[in-house]
Symmetry: C2
DNA sequence: AGCATAAACGGACCACGGTCCACTTTCTAT
DNA sequence: ATAGAAAGTGGACCGTGGTCCGTTTATGCT
């Protein structure tokens, strides 16, 4: 992501633009570090980076986009771990174990970056359509399909992923007092039940 | 809800306050009807009702609170249907059928009031803690417990309820093009799998 | 009726996300 | 080197949710 490599017919990002992007990311990261994600207002980031507010929006589109950019590294690393990393997350493990490890890893991610993850999904447009979420969705679907969930895999993936929503995890953790271990165990239980449960004959219970 | 019955030691709402609350609700409902939920800004509602903006906040606390108030009738009716209504939603049906009917009914509610439901849950504070959601959660938990999910019922209820999130349903329906029937069938499949699946031995797959 | 008091009111005010557009800087072709 | 085009910039501006506080009004008591 953000690679300034010139693709055929596609011009490279102007160098002042690239410099400002980096300044903005640094400023934002600094603000997160010293005053928490809530302090990352677009004005503050712009001021801190010494650029105009318009530039922040030109580069990142929205506050959610800026947050997503801050998470880019960790999301890429996560994706890599899912695709090429060691078991139980990576491909050298049984699908069910990978499924459970996936949720566990997402929950652990919330532990350190929860507020950022929530902020990145805060706007209505980026809520469900953002890139990392798509990746997670496809990954989940693939695992479910491998396990034998068939055509229902995609919607099942949506439903399961909803249980890993950073906002929900944070709520369960901070407001309700569940430990992250309990939540991870609940994920394991949920997915295990789903995966080992019978498929529903399509006529039963239909309206 | 909103009953002006004087409880011992607790004074009744002042009559001008009650009148203004009604005016505001009427104005908001009117705006929703003629220009959609997005047109329900706090200023617009205040102007339409002929009161000051501060009054809107005093009565409903926030935009989400106002939206929740607009949904009060339908949420109460839904709750009543779950507790005392006819099968398959009400108590005269098997728990599994009730569970499936519950989700189906929530999804159908999204069909007509989706944007309002989403707006009522839009703010971070009201996202998970609002009253109707609590009711749904308790109801789900009760059903799961009846079915024999034991101690895990509460967290399982949280996870299942996440799959019925109005924002998610709207996204799947409008952006991804799924029909509400497909979504309802997916719910039925999901819950059926969860309920008939094996419980996970607590040591397996743990970190 | 008159009064004291607490509740309710209203609209000025603030912070923030987001838009816009006149101006500046970089790039590229000559 | 230079000029024109394209990309980038900055900050004034806007709409919105939410707060605050001086003023008004309903209500219960005498």
């Amino acid at each position: 992501m953000n690679t300034p490599v010139p693709i055929a017919g596609e011009s490279v990002e102007r160098c002042d633009a690239a410099r400002n992007r980096q300044r903005l990311l640094d400023a934002a990261a600094l603000l997160v570090a010293e005053r928490g994600p809530d302090a990352v207002t677009m004005d503050a980031v712009a001021a801190r980076a010494g650029v105009g507010k318009g530039t922040v929006f030109r580069r990142f589109g929205s506050r959610a986009g800026l947050m997503a950019a801050l998470l880019d590294h960790s999301e890429s690393a996560f994706q890599y771990a899912c695709m090429y990393g060691p078991p139980p997350l990576g491909p050298d493990a049984e699908p069910i174990a990978r499924l459970i490890a996936f949720g566990r890893a997402r929950i652990e991610l919330v532990e350190v970056q929860g507020e950022l993850l929530r902020a990145a999904e805060s706007s209505v447009e980026t809520r469900h359509g953002n890139a990392p979420r798509q990746v997670s969705l496809i990954h989940l679907e693939m695992l479910l399909r491998t396990i034998g969930m068939g055509a229902r895999s995609r919607l099942l993936a949506h439903s399961l992923l909803a249980a890993l929503d950073p906002g929900l995890i944070l709520y369960q953790w901070h407001e309700l007092g569940y430990s992250l271990k309990e939540l991870a165990d609940n994920w394991a239980d949920l997915t295990h039940r789903v995966v080992t449960g019978d498929s529903l004959p399509s006529t039963e219970y239909s309206t």
